[in-house]
């Protein structure tokens, strides 16, 4: 395994080369001048440090460590189990081995085995953008020769966000505890896990009406089981579900229904996250909005309505456009919603916070107007709508405005209250 950056490393000063060199030099000098006891004391410190250095160097050799993490994303409240496997592929026993797992600042996932970081660890954690309040740790003690140790580490998804394992490190060292080495984990084992927005019960009726006005198209064609175009003779490869049992009951030869091909109009959400910025970072309203949109996406998928999503640029992330016509899955939408965070607040010359309009990647949205179906522009309130260029460009013909608060002004646009799409008293 590779030795990593020693940003968190904490070893004793005794094992540093200058101190060891000084001890050796003074020890030899003391012996030369006949000071046996002093020479013995200095030599002891030197040998102690040397043994610690050699031991820790040998401890890190031929050590195999792997982490198996569950694929995909999770929802808040779910528990994740990471399977850890440490293999000491040498004869020398490994006295201690720690898996150091920083927790993201958002605390979207919290470990079961945790502790408060020590002072010397905090600077490294801050540098990495991890929490300085809590850190995950799993300890393996005494891994004997050619021994394999398997363990599990449980984490609990607490809130929406992206959980990255990039800062996970292994720590080991000598049995005296003087020197600590940090080892990088295999990159293939380090993944990102999305904690999706919490699912809530929603009423998707206003989106389903588009399916009833369906029209045929060239892409994403599907059969509408409610509209029978004709029948044809049964072939052995046909599904039994498609057999026309009425004809069969009349004693006629087996025939199967041929349904109408349709292209359902898809739904495309444009989330104006910046309109929630005045409420503060990770406001309840924003979280609730993302929960409702995520829940709608899941619910509409079940109803075979395809969903797309556009998000403006957020903290450290570029604008996102996911189009249903490109074959996007609901998981992609949920991932994008999980990763979205409001951009860093901006200040004017007087130190006052300003709220610039959202930065969407607009060109693909304009290009995809025909394939995207109807747009749903989601904002906090109608007060922020007049200066939204994208909304004006899309026009009221294909766009509905959904506001978290009760809409006061929508102009030509069809408006609806997003909060009301949530079924109260029966949260998922």
């Amino acid at each position: 395994m590779n030795k990593g950056r020693l940003s968190y490393s904490r070893s004793s000063a005794i094992v540093s080369l200058p101190v060891m060199g000084l001890c050796l030099l003074l020890g030899v000098l003391a012996a030369f001048f006949g000071q046996g006891a002093l020479s013995a004391a200095l030599m002891f410190v030197f040998l102690f440090a040397l043994a610690a250095r050699l031991w820790s160097a040998l401890a890190a050799r031929r050590l195999k460590f792997s982490i198996k993490s569950p694929a995909g994303g999770v929802f808040p409240g779910d528990e994740l189990e990471f399977k850890l496997r440490a293999e000491n592929d040498k004869f020398m026993p490994l006295v201690w081995l720690d898996l150091f797992a920083p927790v993201p600042v958002s605390s979207c996932m919290v470990p079961e085995d945790s502790r408060k970081p020590e002072e010397w660890e905090c600077s490294g954690l801050e540098e990495q953008g991890a929490s300085t309040e809590i850190v995950g740790e799993k300890r393996f003690s005494l891994i004997m020769w050619y021994e394999t140790v398997s363990a599990t580490m449980r984490w609990r998804a607490e809130r929406r966000g992206i959980f990255s394992m990039s800062g996970w490190r292994l720590r080991t060292g000598d049995g005296f505890g003087l020197e600590q080495l940090e080892l990088e984990l295999p990159q293939s084992d380090l993944r990102e896990i999305a904690v999706y927005p919490k699912l809530v019960n929603v009423i998707p009726d206003m989106f389903l009406r588009n399916l009833w006005n369906s029209e045929s198209g060239s892409r994403g064609v599907m059969e509408d089981p409610t509209v029978i175009r004709s029948t044809r003779d049964y072939m052995t490869t046909d599904s039994l579900k498609h057999i026309n049992w009425r004809l069969a009951a009349r004693g006629l030869p087996l025939a199967v229904n041929v349904f109408e091909d349709i292209l359902p109009k898809s739904v495309h959400f444009i989330v104006d996250g910046d309109s929630f910025a005045p409420l503060g970072e990770r406001s309840e309203e924003l979280e609730d909005t993302l929960s409702i949109i995520g829940s709608l996406a899941v619910r509409l998928e079940r109803a075979q309505v395809r969903c797309g999503l556009s998000l403006p640029s957020g903290k450290g992330r570029a604008p996102v456009n996911i189009f249903a016509a490109d074959g996007a899955q609901t998981a992609d939408l949920l991932w994008a919603l999980a990763a979205y965070e409001l951009p860093e607040p901006k200040l004017d010359d007087n130190g006052e916070r300003i709220f610039p309009p959202p930065k969407f990647d607009e060109a693909p949205i304009y290009d995809g107007v025909r394939a995207a179906g109807r747009f749903y522009y989601v904002a906090y309130s109608s007060a922020s709508l007049p200066d939204r260029r994208l909304l004006r460009a899309l026009g009221s013909g294909c766009t509905t405005v959904l506001t978290y608060e009760e809409p006061e002004y929508g102009g030509d646009f069809e408006t609806a209250c997003l909060k009301k799409l949530r079924e109260v008293k029966s949260d998922a």
Binding site: A37, L38, S39, F91, P93, S141, L142, W145, Y146
Partner: protein, 437 residues
């Protein structure tokens, strides 16, 4: 304290008290005064203060109650020190008060918050530094060996505390045995080093030889006495009424006259050895059940272990050595062929910045190496010539086993070239840092 790191914390507190004691001893020696029991009393006090505070905080208490308790303890130890004539003048009174206060406050604070690794390391470093300082000072002033006992105990406590802190007390008998063996190794090496370094030429070897001979003689003497005693207990069949000799009657000079069968002696020796091994194993198993300090392992520990027994482990070790040896022999046999030279280069550059990167082809690796060695024209050209030869050897079936004419030069020069380049790069980066500052 929020977690169960009680033993390392206790060890650190004890080590601090030992360090204070040592410091007072050094101060006392420099002033030429007699210290008596005064600094020694701080050691049990520090341990007791920590224990009392922990017991006191087992139930919920107010900070005022804790402060009052510690004030009372601090005043009591100060009064005890005063009674032991620790406060001769104003300066010594002030220092005594400071030490008492410091140890009391530390005991209380260690009970309130979790001990950090940095504190453990600092305590151990302080103890080792004071050990060296006191030994040095003692050597100059003719101090007795007994005076080093507190700081040696402190150093031992701090090291033990650190070991338990790192392993969270779940080391087990095997782990402790391994750590103890490492310490034994260090002390053995220390003894050898000091004997050699401190003694005039040749004297060290004589001393070691004499000590070894004396040790072996004493061990054999003990075994012989024990066997003789056991044999004397056996009744003699031919002389049924003969009286048994008492053990007290055995004299060293008379021993060779005792008739002993070598077979019986061998059997007895084997039985004793087997019993000793059995006892040792039982003791280790018993010790393994005792956990010192640290967090208790939860009952539903989800850790699974797949251990290898010592025999198969040794077999694997020997097999790996055999494999490594075979590889080296093979490499030596093919040291002049392009493919062998490539392997040698990879091995030589393994621990340097020019190590072969994952996924790098031989051609890319050799090109990078040739660029790095451009100062050495001969090596540079040899490496460039090596590239097509390696390509031929690696990718064409008939290209193997042909000697490369510049192999010896490449082997000879590559290490020095890498070292030279490394030194130059290190110096350049150091200068750049200094210039940047």
């Amino acid at each position: 304290m929020p977690d169960g790191r009680a033993f390392p914390t206790f060890a650190a507190q004890l080590a601090t008290a030992c360090a204070v004691c040592s410091f007072v001893q050094i101060m006392g020696m420099s002033s030429g005064g007699e210290l008596g029991l005064y600094p020694l009393i701080l050691i049990p006090y520090a341990a007791a203060a920590y224990g009392i505070d922990r017991l006191f905080l087992r139930r919920e208490r107010s900070m005022r109650a804790l402060a009052l308790l510690n004030t009372a303890m601090g005043l009591a130890i100060f009064a005890a020190c005063f009674a032991l004539d620790a406060c001769g003048d104003l300066a010594s009174t002030l220092f005594t008060a400071l030490f008492c206060l410091g140890l009391t406050v530390r005991a209380a604070s260690l009970c309130l918050r979790r001990m950090e690794l940095r504190s453990m390391l600092l305590t151990m470093e302080l103890c080792l530094f004071l050990l060296v300082a006191q030994v040095g000072f003692g050597a100059a002033s003719g101090m007795g060996v007994a005076a080093y006992a507190p700081i040696m105990a402190g150093a031992a406590a701090s090291i033990l505390g650190l070991v338990i802190y790192r392993t969270e007390g779940s080391l087990g008998a095997r782990g402790w045995a391994f750590t103890a063996a490492a310490f034994a190794g260090i002390f053995a090496l220390l003894w050898l080093l000091v004997s050699f370094a401190a003694a005039p030429a040749g004297h060290g070897i004589v001393a070691i030889w004499n000590a070894a001979v004396a040790a072996v003689k004493s061990v054999f003497s003990l075994i012989y006495r024990f066997l003789a005693y056991l044999i004397s207990l056996l009744p003699e069949a031919e002389y049924g009424e003969a009286e048994m000799e008492t053990p007290e009657g055995i004299v060293m000079e008379e021993l060779p006259e005792t008739e002993t069968s070598p077979i019986i002696a061998g059997i007895l020796l084997a039985i004793i050895a087997a019993l000793l091994i059995y006892g040792l194993v039982r003791l280790l198993i018993r010790l393994g059940r005792i956990n010192i300090g640290g967090r208790k392992i939860s009952a539903h520990s989800r850790t699974k272990r797949r251990r290898a027994a010592l025999g198969p482990a040794l077999a694997r070790l020997f097999a790996s050595w055999k494999k490594a040896l075979r590889l080296r022999v093979k490499l030596w046999q093919r040291r002049s062929t392009p493919e062998g030279l490539l392997c040698i280069l990879i091995r030589k550059c393994r621990l340097t910045p020019w190590h072969k990167r994952p996924g790098e082809t031989p051609r890319l690796f050799l090109t990078r190496l040739a660029d790095s060695a451009e100062d050495d024209a001969e090596l540079h050209s040899a490496l460039l010539r090596l590239i097509p030869a390696v390509d031929a050897a690696v990718y064409s079936p008939g290209g193997r086993g042909v000697d490369f004419d510049g192999a010896a030069a490449v082997r000879r020069r590559i290490s020095s070239a890498v070292r030279r380049r490394f030194a130059r790069d290190s110096l350049a980066s150091a200068f750049a840092k200094i210039r940047h500052k």
